[in-house]
């Protein structure tokens, strides 16, 4: 029966090719606009490491100005970064299964067998970074707690850096110069481009990962400041690196791995105790305002998806709604126009249900055609945007990926939409009394 309905649908399309094309186009454009906005929304809303969402936490404490909240638009937020003192203070806790403190620095990388000296961004971090964030290694591995403490002159290179510096060869055991100091390569990462860059959203949610990874204590030995955001509120005499380390300026980040709810609770208590203890020393004069964010919560806290992205998605779906209302109207017109044919079929014994299914099949075919066309158009749209914006937006592959799985979503949305659009016209035509059409024929 379905095949017969399909044949009838094809005949009907041939009768009104213009009207059919208009309906397919309406659905296709509605879908494609939705696809483009959905692509950028989904890229931003994706949660990296979903299986660790309930294990990894970013602690936040409110060390900010007693007179003003950190974020005037949302006074409930604590600062998104930590002072050096608090990063160290929180890092002293033995509750977490794994823990890291880090910041972003930069300097000239030289040495190696290939390439010329280059200024590279470096992540100054604890060695737990690699197992916590499950970074893939091409060669070697990260470093252990002993190397953290030393600190030992070890470094992990990104795949790209290894290609530039060593031509892609296994460089474990070889040395590079960074800030004119010798470091031994212990590991080379494989392709790893977390998007969004959840562990450092305050310096750009879709920025490139750093080119090299260095034990964080080297930062203080080499007196390296932050290459990322540094925010200060307090009037302090800062005349040396040591003054800066002891200041109320925020520039550090921390993550902890807590595998059981009991540990989460214990760590929350630790945070409160830490702040209360600091209060007794005259710091932390704002109300107790500690947070422990999951990856997902952290991305919401930092508005990674972005206001425009959300508003645009809503606009796109409103546009799809217009396209669908349009299609319902056109379908209705088309079906009623061909009502005499349905009348004859009814007179020859087709039931109302048959007529209904026949017409629903017709609208389903239009929907699928519109969905496929819309999906392809949407991919073309993403490509076009990337071609246009790629000239001046560096991180576009990650914020606007060409995501073919969205094509499936497009066809599914379209089919659902087309069937909804076809319901009323198909029902309406099924109810028409056959006699009225037969009379005039």
């Amino acid at each position: 029966m379905f095949a017969y309905y399909l044949r009838l649908a094809m005949q009907s399309f041939r009768r009104n090719p213009g009207l059919t094309a208009l309906m397919v186009m309406a659905i296709a454009l509605g879908i494609s606009v939705c696809m483009v906005t959905l692509t950028s929304y989904r890229a931003a809303a994706r949660i990296p490491l979903p299986h660790k969402n309930e294990m990894l936490y970013a602690p936040n404490v409110d060390s900010w100005d007693p007179a003003n909240p950190y974020d005037k638009d949302n006074a409930l937020y604590a600062p998104d970064l930590l002072t050096h003192r608090d990063a160290r203070g929180l890092h002293a806790s033995t509750i977490p299964d794994r823990k890291l403190i880090m910041y972003k620095a930069g300097g000239v990388l030289s040495g190696g067998t290939n390439g010329s000296p280059e200024y590279v961004a470096a992540r100054m971090t604890s060695g737990d970074f690699f197992p916590m964030f499950e970074t893939p290694f091409l060669y070697g591995s990260g470093w252990n707690a002993k190397a953290d403490e030393g600190p030992e002159p070890v470094v992990v290179l990104s795949k790209e850096t290894n290609e530039k510096t060593f031509g892609g060869a296994n460089s474990v055991g070889k040395t590079v110069m960074w800030h004119d100091r010798e470091f031994r390569v212990v590991g080379v990462l494989n392709d790893w481009e977390p998007a969004p860059k959840f562990y450092d959203v305050s310096n750009g949610s879709f920025d490139d990962p750093e080119k090299i990874y260095v034990p964080v204590n080297w930062g203080q030995i080499m007196e390296l400041g932050s290459d990322g955001n540094t925010n200060c509120w307090k009037t302090e005499d800062i005349n040396s690196y040591q003054d800066f380390l002891n200041s109320e300026c925020i520039w550090w980040e921390s993550w902890v791995e807590l595998r059981t709810p009991a540990k989460v609770a214990a760590y929350r208590k630790f945070l409160d105790d830490y702040v209360i203890e600091q209060k007794s020393r005259g710091r932390f004069q704002r109300p107790l305002n500690n947070h422990l964010y999951t990856i997902e919560g952290w991305m919401q806290r930092n508005n990674v998806v972005g206001t425009d992205n959300k508003a645009m998605l809503i606009m796109a779906f409103a546009f799809l709604a217009v396209c669908l209302v349009n299609t319902v109207g056109l379908l209705l017109a088309k079906f009623l126009n061909a009502a005499p044919v349905a009348g004859v079929r009814r007179a020859l014994g087709a039931s109302r249900r048959d007529i209904f299914w026949q017409h629903l099949t017709e609208s389903g075919v239009i929907a699928v055609a519109g969905g496929i066309a819309g999906g392809l158009l949407g991919i073309a749209g993403v490509w076009a945007l990337r071609a246009w914006y790629g000239r001046f937006v560096q991180d576009l592959e990650r914020s606007l990926p060409v995501d073919y799985s969205t094509l499936g979503i497009a066809v599914a949305i379209s089919l659902a939409a087309g069937i909804i659009a076809g319901l009323y016209p198909a029902w309406r035509i099924g109810r028409a009394a056959p006699a009225s059409y037969l009379k005039v024929q």
Binding site: L19, L22, A26, L29, V33, V36, T37, D73, G106, G107, V108, S110, S116, P117, E118, Y119, H179, D180, T235, D237, I238, N239, G306, T307, D308, K310, A311, M312, M315, A316, A318, F319, A321, V322, C323, V325, N326, V328, G329, L330, L332, A333, K334, L336, N337, L385, Y389, R391, F392, V393, Q394, Y424, R428, V440
Partner: protein, 403 residues
């Protein structure tokens, strides 16, 4: 001709008309808000930056060897760049204007953090900054070569003179708007900074910041090992000078890292990328939504005409003129459009209110709503025009024929 017959005919075949009305309502709500947001973004992107951003490029330079003479490098590079053909001027700076990266600090009108205060984006540079940026000095003077401090260590505080934008100075000294030169500002350590010159207008680092036009140029360079160069070229020579400058810089001293050269125009586009993406997407949606609404109205009007040929023929046979037929269909369309527009107004206001509430966007300007209503009325009549004319062509003889 009264509206009664139109109304009664609409009542009997209401579904199609209702669908068109819904479509018009949604269209109005989308278009009015989309056009409003788009125009906001276009205004934002079109603000003059005050600097010659179309004819400038920038690059980072970093020394890395031990005992590297940073200041000798800066002086030699600057002398070389300023001498190159096609270069108007060049300056060293800690940050690139319009790039989205920068530093800001809070300054006060009085010592001890008293008086008017304001945050300001600052650039540490030398006496060539005003000419390199191409900003207009409204009052006072530029700082001189002897004012510039080359600091080997990272010290707090600014040198004692500065060139600031009028927008910034007027916030600090609202009562002396005509007499800003010579006024003393203070940092949070109460260190004084005297305003040497006032820039008419200039944009700083962050295009999304509502205090974008508060900028301070300070005569300080250092401490290294990294710095950025900003170069302004003669119009039309940007690409050629960039290529020549890169080669010359690499050749002059290979013992430092010359980073990627980028035009300031490119930085600016990058900073405004999300605004422009929003504007482009919304414009496309607006165009499509209007097209489809027009096609939908057209399709339904055509359908109405087709199904009523006998009725039209009968009316013509009993004396209706062609004009009457046209006006009948136009009036019918006008009624449907009006219903859609009335509902759409409410919807547009609701969407506008919700957008401004939820996403901190500016409140919908009502002129846009008025424009949208007028536009949709016109669009509706335009789309119904051709089918109405076709209806008028129906011969009175149709009355006697079966379909």
């Amino acid at each position: 001709m009264g509206l009664r017959p139109i109304l009664s005919s609409l009542m009997r075949n209401g579904a199609g008309a209702l669908l068109v009305a819904i479509q018009i309502a949604l269209t109005l709500a989308i278009v009015v808000n989309a056009v409003f947001v788009t125009s906001e973004r276009i205004t934002k992107m079109g603000r003059p930056s005050g600097i010659d951003d179309q004819n400038m490029f920038a690059l980072p330079v970093t020394g890395f060897e031990k005992n590297f003479d940073f200041f000798a490098m800066v002086r030699a590079d600057m002398a070389m760049l300023r001498d190159m053909p096609g270069v108007v001027d060049a300056m060293p700076t800690n940050h690139i204007p319009l790039s989205g990266g920068g530093s800001s600090t809070q300054l006060y009108a009085l010592p001890d953090k008293k008086g008017e205060k304001s945050p300001v984006a600052y650039y540490g540079t030398d006496e060539h900054a005003v000419n390199t940026l191409g900003v207009k000095l409204a009052d006072g003077r530029n700082f001189s070569a002897t004012d510039v401090e080359y600091r080997p260590k990272d010290l707090q505080g600014f040198p004692g003179t500065a060139v600031v934008t009028r927008a910034f100075a007027e916030v600090l000294f609202p009562k002396d708007k005509d007499n800003l030169v010579g006024k003393t500002m203070y940092d949070d350590q109460s260190k004084p900074i005297v305003i040497a010159g006032v820039i008419e207008q200039m944009h700083g680092a962050w295009v999304g910041w509502d205090k974008l036009d508060r900028v301070l140029l300070s005569p300080v360079v250092g401490p290294g090992p990294g710095i950025r160069y900003l170069v302004r070229t003669k119009p039309g020579q940007l690409d050629a000078v960039m290529a020549a400058a890169e080669a010359a810089l690499r050749k002059r001293d290979p013992n430092r890292v010359v980073g990627k050269l980028r035009t300031v125009k490119n930085y600016k586009q990058s900073s405004y990328a999300s605004d422009s993406l929003t504007a482009v997407t919304l414009s496309v949606v607006t165009g499509l939504v209007l097209t489809f609404s027009a096609l939908g109205i057209f399709g339904l009007a055509t359908f109405n005409v087709n199904t009523r040929t006998r009725q039209i023929g009968t009316r013509r046979a009993v004396g209706a003129r062609k004009r009457d037929i046209v006006s009948y269909f136009m009036a019918e369309n006008w009624l449907i459009t009006t219903l859609g527009v009335v509902v759409g107004c409410g919807l547009a206001l609701a969407v506008g209110f919700w957008l401004s509430n939820q996403f901190a966007l500016p409140r919908l300007n009502l002129y846009f709503l008025v424009g949208g209503v007028a536009g949709l009325w016109a669009l509706g009549q335009l789309a119904a025009w051709q089918p109405a004319l076709r209806a008028a062509k129906v011969s009175p003889a149709m009355a006697t024929r079966s379909v």
